[in-house]
């Protein structure tokens, strides 16, 4: 089927979006306030800062780290993060010798409650197709060179299970508090395409 073209030529998606919004709101089928709340939530509240708080806590609280690795969903919920695309979250820990990286080859499944909506590279066909075939090469192109002896595990998110990577705590950060560690933890490290750098 063709949805974006036709006798009148290609219609910009912004205009088609406005048309759909009008068609549904004028019949009372959707509530504009609910729509605006969804947009605001994902623009401001639900993003990688949530995941960074989880990681910083795991780095500074060994009992929390244990709970996080045993039952990610429950440990993440302790910090108040749950909801869409976070029904069952499993946490994979990266170390000096094991490296986990997350992909969704079938669509773009991503743990929204802790990382927000996926960045453009995660949704890109390049990433989705090649990460399960040549991850070391893809990671290098993205700026992460891994030593030859590092074991890579690619997590293809094919069900409703969602993966969060617990990155390795960088050397030289032993003096930092949980609050001071939070801003160091990047989205990219929690997907596994980067490491966390010391400040």
């Amino acid at each position: 089927m063709t949805t974006t073209s036709g006798s009148g030529g290609r219609i910009p998606p912004a205009l088609r979006t406005e048309a759909l919004e009008q068609l549904l709101t004028e019949r009372g089928l959707i509530d504009p306030a609910a729509m605006n709340k969804i947009i605001t939530d994902y623009e401001t509240n639900i993003g990688p800062l949530n995941g960074a708080k989880v990681v910083a806590k795991a780095w500074t609280d060994p009992e929390y780290r244990q709970r996080l690795l045993e039952d990610g969903t429950a440990a993440i919920k302790e910090l108040g993060f749950a909801g869409r695309q976070g029904e069952h979250i499993v946490v994979a820990e990266n170390t000096a010798t094991t490296h986990n990286v997350v992909v969704c080859t079938l669509c773009s499944c991503y743990p929204w409650p802790v990382l927000g909506l996926p960045p453009s590279w995660y949704k890109d066909p390049v990433y989705r197709s090649r990460m399960v075939r040549e991850p070391r090469a893809v990671l290098a192109e993205m700026g992460l060179e891994l030593a030859d002896d590092v074991q890579i595990t690619v997590r293809d998110s094919t069900s409703e299970v969602r993966w969060l990577v617990l990155p390795e705590r960088p050397a030289g950060t032993g003096h930092l508090t949980e609050e001071e560690l939070v801003p160091l933890v990047s989205r990219d490290a929690m997907v596994g395409v980067a490491k966390v750098a010391a400040p």
Binding site: G6, L20, S129
Partner: protein
């Protein structure tokens, strides 16, 4: 898309990328989330709608363009909107005088979820245990499936037994939930891609009916 070639080099992440780079993307995202419910459908049906878009509708306007087009497909198939209704309204919004199709009689699927979300309790025990060798069945289901093509026929080892969940293959078609255990199965790269592959492992979450015992 797993394992397909010809897409080019990977793009390095940008730290300052906005959540929605254009305002319409946020609106399309929220509309798609809400439309699935308006259409009386579910997330598996939404993913199946995305899979049935033509190449241009899937790729040309990116991720949120795909979501917009998937929402349109769900809404027209449940007869909430007539085919062409969005484009006709869009043309009118751009100042053209276009006849809009009449609003159809809604025909939502005869479907209601057994519970919110996808996790379910089942009264069976898992067919496979952690450490067991399993093979992804070499099957090509006619409709929606979450069994990636690149894993079919390949053997791996169960790493984790995950909670039981609704089977997307039937739920996407409103043919029942068929809740079953899900397994994180670990595959060696050389099992999937041959002796010349980089050394690594892939795990995927596979529904019980996708798997068979391997010796």
């Amino acid at each position: 898309m797993g394992g397909t070639q010809g897409w080019g080099r990977a793009h390095p992440p940008r730290a300052d990328e906005p959540v929605f780079s254009q305002p319409w993307q946020g609106r399309a995202f929220a509309l798609a989330l809400l439309s699935s419910r308006v259409a009386g459908q579910n997330i598996d049906a939404f993913r199946h709608a995305l899979e049935r878009l033509d190449r241009a509708a899937y790729l040309d306007d990116g991720y949120y363009g795909r979501w917009l087009n998937g929402a349109e497909l769900q809404l027209t198939e449940s007869a909430i909107l007539a085919p062409g209704a969005i484009n006709a309204r869009a043309r009118n919004l751009s100042g053209k005088d276009t006849q809009e199709p009449p609003v159809p009689e809604p025909a939502r699927p005869d479907y209601a979820p057994a519970a919110p979300g996808s996790l379910r309790t089942v009264d069976t025990t898992p067919a496979f245990a952690a450490g067991e060798r399993v093979r992804a069945r070499d099957i090509s289901p006619p409709g929606h499936t979450r069994l990636p093509g690149y894993l079919r026929g390949h053997t791996g080892v169960v790493e984790l037994v995950q909670p039981a969940a609704v089977l997307p293959d039937t739920n996407a078609h409103f043919q029942g939930e068929n809740a079953q255990y899900v397994y994180s199965v670990r595959f060696a790269s050389r099992e999937l891609w041959g002796a010349g592959a980089e050394s690594f492992a892939v795990t995927a979450e596979l529904y019980e009916s996708y798997l068979e015992k391997a010796s």
